[in-house]
């Protein structure tokens, strides 16, 4: 029974919008919204207020395939031919200058003042890479530092919520022809240090990225999940 008075009616529509009602009740309210303009407006008003709660959640980066899938479902011909691998290759190649825009530069300057990072006494930092979400230029998530002795340190600036059935994997890419190489799994929010042997030689422009993979890591020799953070090594000292 749908109440006629506007206030109880508005509250009931709120319950419907929140998804609280069982199916027979929900069906009744759905019917009302379809038939009654005012009821439809009430539903959208509730929905608009609730956006505030949705906006409290951090946005999550969709996998590169999601857009591809949507286009395929809509039968948009232009991109249906590109295979997932092609799409990924484009990710790798399309990393233009955004990686060194203001946010990353500011962080580089900041790093320069931190003791231990730019410390001349023992080992010095040779390269650094600021890893950011693809397409984001002012939200550094992780910092890679490669020291003069060849060791690599990966440090987290933020803590992401990772689904319990997923792992975060760390990769590097020197030459797209060779493809990315796994540097192991990472605990979200926790950094890691890798020896020079594990890293190999590092050069300017070398890519580092974190991807979301099935638990235990990618089943293949390459990333299979969405890129969470990515960035290129920049030379900061030459000695």
């Amino acid at each position: 029974m749908i109440p006629h008075a506007p206030e109880p009616r508005r509250a009931l529509i709120g319950e419907y919008v929140l998804g609280l009602l069982n199916e027979p009740e929900a069906k009744e309210v759905r019917g009302l919204i379809a038939a009654d303009r005012e009821a439809a407006q009430m539903a959208l008003e509730w929905e608009a207020h609730l956006l505030e709660l949705a906006d409290q959640l951090p946005p999550q980066l969709p996998s590169a395939y999601l857009w591809e899938r949507i286009q395929q479902s809509l039968r948009w011909s232009a991109t249906t031919s590109s295979a997932p691998d092609k799409e990924r290759e484009r990710w790798w190649h399309s990393l233009g200058l955004w990686r060194l825009t203001s946010g990353a530069l500011a962080l580089l300057v900041l790093l320069g003042w931190l003791p231990g990072v730019w410390n001349n006494q023992v080992v010095t930092a040779s390269y650094t890479a600021v890893l950011q979400q693809p397409g984001e230029s002012a939200k550094p998530g992780w910092v890679v530092t490669i020291y003069s002795d060849g060791a690599l340190n990966l440090k987290s600036l933020i803590t992401d919520q990772i689904p319990a059935d997923r792992s975060v994997q760390f990769w590097t890419l020197v030459d797209p022809v060779d493809g990315p190489r796994s540097l192991g799994l990472i605990d979200p929010g926790e950094g890691t240090t890798l020896s020079a042997e594990q890293i190999g030689a590092v050069e300017a422009g070398q890519l580092f990225e974190l991807t979301l993979e099935p638990i235990g890591g990618s089943p293949l020799e390459k990333p299979t999940g969405p890129v969470l953070y990515i960035g290129r090594a920049v030379l900061i000292a030459s000695n």
Partner: protein, 182 residues
């Protein structure tokens, strides 16, 4: 996310005219936030991506049904996403035990007076109104929004009689209505 400046209504109307570029802009603007909500509701990234996929396909194919005189474009998009997510949850059947402690933090951080004033001026005041509710009325509403739980499931989770939960939610929503119209 600059959703205050993005023209959702105009973009949806462009989608209704089969403007693919407009849809692409909408995807770039909103897919991250949609996915964030879907992951919180569904708890799994793969299913959340399926949900965002389905919702956005629906947004495109139903864009001609959007009517800006009925309400906000962004609210319309989220109504589609939430509807699909809730259907996915209902079809899944069994409820997964989740840690819901975070949801109270979504309301509890008491904003500065200045922020409150600006919230009021751009009509964003749900969180303020929620914070004025007592927890027993507020918490079930947040569980419904962030976890997609029904009356029965909330009663179950909070080990409270169904009638009590229904009464509290209804009273909570009425109080919210009143507060939101101030």
């Amino acid at each position: 996310m600059e959703h205050n400046t993005f023209d959702y209504e105009g973009t949806l109307e462009a989608c209704a005219r089969a403007d693919q570029e407009a849809f692409k802009r909408l995807y770039q603007q909103e897919s991250g936030q949609l996915l964030g909500l879907a992951i919180t509701l569904l708890g799994r990234r793969d299913q959340a991506e399926d949900c965002v996929h389905d919702a956005l396909v629906k947004v495109w194919s139903n864009a001609h049904r959007f009517d800006r005189t009925l309400g906000q474009g962004r609210a319309w998009i989220y109504s589609i996403l939430r509807y699909r997510a809730l259907n996915q949850l209902r079809n899944r059947g069994r409820l997964v035990q989740t840690d819901d402690r975070f949801i109270e933090n979504m309301v509890d951080d008491s904003p500065q007076a200045e922020q409150q004033a600006s919230d009021r001026s751009d009509g964003r005041q749900l969180r303020r109104c929620l914070s004025e509710l007592e927890r027993p009325r507020r918490h079930p509403i947040l569980l419904a929004f962030y976890r997609g739980l029904t009356h029965e499931q909330i009663a179950d989770r909070l080990t409270t009689p169904l009638g009590t939960i229904k009464g509290r939610i209804r009273a909570g929503l009425r109080a919210l209505q009143e507060c939101l119209q101030k």
